[in-house]
């Protein structure tokens, strides 16, 4: 049966501003989405996949990105050159979009129900009562518990997954013909990601919606796509059915993207035993709220965590948002003060040190943060950022600078770029710079706090390899915090699974992966995207 065509993009070209490194953001892009079909557009950052999506919605930043050729037809109606008024009528009604960052995509000062209501008020003539019924109905459809309460809640009162459900409800409340999802699960935990992907598929099937799904992760593609379009540097390099692309990719770029998806195969266990670098005993962190005039409540973020990291070993802490894994990292790095327990770094207990005594130990533990876009000062050259630490510990600027150049080379960034500013680098390069900044202090323990979570899978694989090299060449002890079991499998010798501030399972990675004991660990395994397909590949 021929399905009606929802979206038809033909030979689309979008021009970049004059100063950019290429003329077109996208060029000669043709793709289509039929009713009831999910088409994934896959590519790395800068491949033009988001520009394509924003072109369809008519949401490109005016004056910066301009469609200059081609055509975009939504249910047969040409969108390029359509009047702004007509585009506004179509947006939210016939085509809708779900964005990457659910934490910031909702207006923080408007109740969730009212934000959905805005769509209904704009595009329908329903009265208040009917609109209210529609809102409760769509909230129930996206499986939010207690729709009445959720409708009255403000975004900050909901979790990331719940907020993304609100976004999906908002997008689908008028049953648009086309739904565009721009990396809707990239910012979410794996288990939440699995739920959201399931939800998108369920609703799309129920309503016959055509979906254009943007992602950089072939794991997600394997979960959700009917057809795949692979983009590189603004052009389509390959397209076909999911089955065909995954099993018989023609282009090396596609193959590279597929290979970059981390498998759930754990690395072989580490043979040599190093000396103990870090251990914690009954580490506790309790947050006390309240103040002068009112009663406080206590939140136990970390409850009695024991862990140990040896030299030359990478130990992973795996858990979701709110599990306390980052709090453990911050207690060990003494960015925050533990409320109980011991943090032993070789011979010294760092847990309760203060002031000068703490400062002496600070260089021994260095941390790499999640978001390389925000963890480098945008107004300082990377050189200045790199040498700040050594200078604080008494080195001369020249010596520090020489070391900085050497380390940049080591992490794979051109040492001659030392006078550039962070915005002149890509996300992957910035994370390499952050790693260099951590290494320049010659720490004994390196903490990577979700250090690859904000990166594309292909870049992720490179940064993971770099961490591996660091461990081998420098024999560092590495504590690796992640929410993604697949990533943990690539690099960790041992893992701890954390939930609600407690360690629920621990052991050598291979053992935990072969026979997970705790139900929560099993849940994490089931949520890894592309899991079923990974097994298919192994079998072939």
């Amino acid at each position: 049966m021929e399905r009606p065509r929802i979206l038809e993009v033909e030979r689309l070209a979008v021009e970049l501003p004059k100063a950019a490194d290429r003329v077109h953001a996208v060029e000669d892009v043709s793709l289509h989405v039929d009713s009831g079909e999910i088409v994934c557009v896959v590519g790395e950052s800068g491949s033009g996949k988001s520009v394509t999506a924003y072109s369809v919605m008519g949401l490109l930043p005016p004056g910066q990105l301009t469609p200059v050729a081609g055509s975009i037809r939504l249910e047969g109606e040409e969108l390029l050159g359509a009047k702004p008024r007509r585009l506004r009528e179509l947006r939210g009604d016939r085509m809708a979009m779900v964005f990457q960052e659910p934490m910031t995509a909702l207006n923080p000062v408007v109740r969730c129900g009212d934000q959905i209501d805005e769509v209904l008020r704009l595009h329908t003539r329903l009265d208040r009562k009917e609109r209210h019924a529609r809102i409760l109905d769509i909230l129930a459809q996206v499986h939010l518990p207690d729709p009445k309460r959720i409708a009255a809640a403000f975004p900050h009162q909901l979790s990331g997954g719940q907020r993304q459900r609100i976004m999906i409800a908002m997008a689908l409340v008028l049953e648009p013909a086309l739904l565009i999802c721009d990396e809707p699960t990239t910012a979410l935990d794996v288990t939440t990601q699995a739920q959201i992907l399931r939800l998108v598929r369920e609703l799309q099937e129920a309503h016959g919606t055509g979906v254009l799904f943007i992602t950089h992760d072939f794991g997600v593609v394997a979960e959700i796509a009917h057809r795949v379009v692979v983009m590189e540097k603004g052009r389509i390099v390959e397209s076909g059915t999911t089955e065909a692309i995954l099993t018989r990719p023609q282009e090396p770029y596609t193959r590279m993207l597929i290979d970059a998806v981390p498998t759930l195969e754990p690395r072989p266990p580490l043979e040599r035993g190093g000396t103990k670098v870090l251990s914690t005993e009954r580490l506790e962190k309790t947050y006390q709220t309240g103040g002068f005039f009112r009663r406080g409540t206590a939140v136990h973020a970390v409850k009695g965590v024991d862990l140990r990291v040896d030299a030359g070993e990478i130990v992973g802490i795996v858990g979701e948002s709110g599990s306390g894994k980052s709090t453990v990292a911050r207690c060990i790095a003494r960015l925050i003060e533990p409320t109980g327990g011991i943090v032993r770094l070789k011979d010294a207990d760092l847990a309760q040190l203060k002031g000068r005594a703490l400062r002496r130990h600070r260089r021994r533990v260095q941390i790499i943060f999640q978001d390389p876009y925000r963890s480098l000062n945008p107004r300082r050259t990377i050189g200045a950022s790199l040498i700040e630490g050594p200078i604080n510990y008494g080195e001369t600027a020249e010596a520090a600078m020489a070391k900085a150049r050497e380390l940049l080379g080591f992490v794979g960034v051109d040492p001659n770029a030392i006078d550039r500013y962070p915005h002149q680098f890509s996300g992957g390069q910035r994370q390499r710079i952050c790693i260099a900044r951590a290494l320049i202090l010659e720490p004994e323990l390196l903490i990577a706090d979700e250090a690859v979570s904000a990166l594309d899978v292909s870049v992720q694989a490179q940064v993971l390899r770099l961490l591996e090299t660091i461990r081998e060449r420098l024999g560092l002890a590495v504590l690796f915090i992640t929410h993604d079991l697949r990533v943990a499998a690539q690099v960790c010798d041992r893992i701890l699974v954390m939930r609600s501030g407690e360690v629920v399972e621990t052991g050598p990675t291979a053992e935990v992966f072969a026979a997970p004991k705790h139900p929560y660990t099993k849940e994490l395994f089931d949520a890894a995207p592309g899991r079923s397909w990974q097994f298919a590949k192994l079998a072939s």
Binding site: L59, F99, A105, V109, V110, E118, V119, M170, F293, R294
Partner: protein, 313 residues
Amino acid sequence: MLGFLLRRIAATIPVLLMVAVFVFLMLRLTPGDPAAIIAGDNATPQQIVEIRERLGLEEPLHVQFAIWGGNLLRGDLGQSYFFRQPVTSLIAQRIEPTFSLAAVTIVITVLVAVPLGTLAAYRHGSWLDKFVMGFSVAGFSVPVFVVGYILIYVFAVELRWLPVQGFVSIREGFWPFMERMIMPATALAVIYIALIARMTRASVLEVLGEDYVRTARAKGQGEFKVLVNHALRNAAVPIVTVIGVGIALLIGGVVVTESVFNIPGLGRLTVNAVLARDYPTIQGVILLFSFLYVLINLLIDIAYLFLDPRIRY
């Protein structure tokens, strides 16, 4: 909510108490006889004796404070021997012109500055944006009396559209009131428009880059409502803060304006009281202003609660 209000109001008490102690000590720590200082230069010995008895100046300091504080709580700020009137009634007479001027100034400021700043942010980089930025620099640089005299010269002397100066209460009709209020309020508003327009521009500009503004557009919302319902509402907290601080500063700013436009308000009362070293009146004005500052801050804090649901104390 109610709990917050009570806590927040309770928190103002120590502040007010500190001001009261400061004002009380101001006289007691000045060298010389406080009674003689209060009575002023032309007082009779009889008056000085009366003051001494009334304030209990023979008693220890804390008893004096109790007497003084008790009078204060009853609304008795003492007697101005310079103006030959109770300070309370002096202030009461002058409060209306000053508050009228402040209110009209704030209304003009908000009506002009917020839309101007918002549009400048929306049309970032356009001639309108450059005009607003230029105006802000100019507005900060030109003193209020210069603007005042230019307005008087143009609209009162040359065009004869408005009376030169003076004050008429709003009870005698809106137009006669506004006729005399519009120029001083405009003169005074210039600097606040400059300040608040810039603040609004910066705040809205930041918010316009937020993801939820993009979400609103993706829903098909029109640009005007995107600006007002989504951008401005989120940009409101810093803007309201500056408006609040502006109101507080305004009370200082009225002094010059009231002199230029011959308005019988608190500003001129303060000037006259300082020149005459009329301590009871100075004390009264300080207490009143401090009370207003505290009140305005309280109102700003309450406004935050309505503007941003994430703020909970």
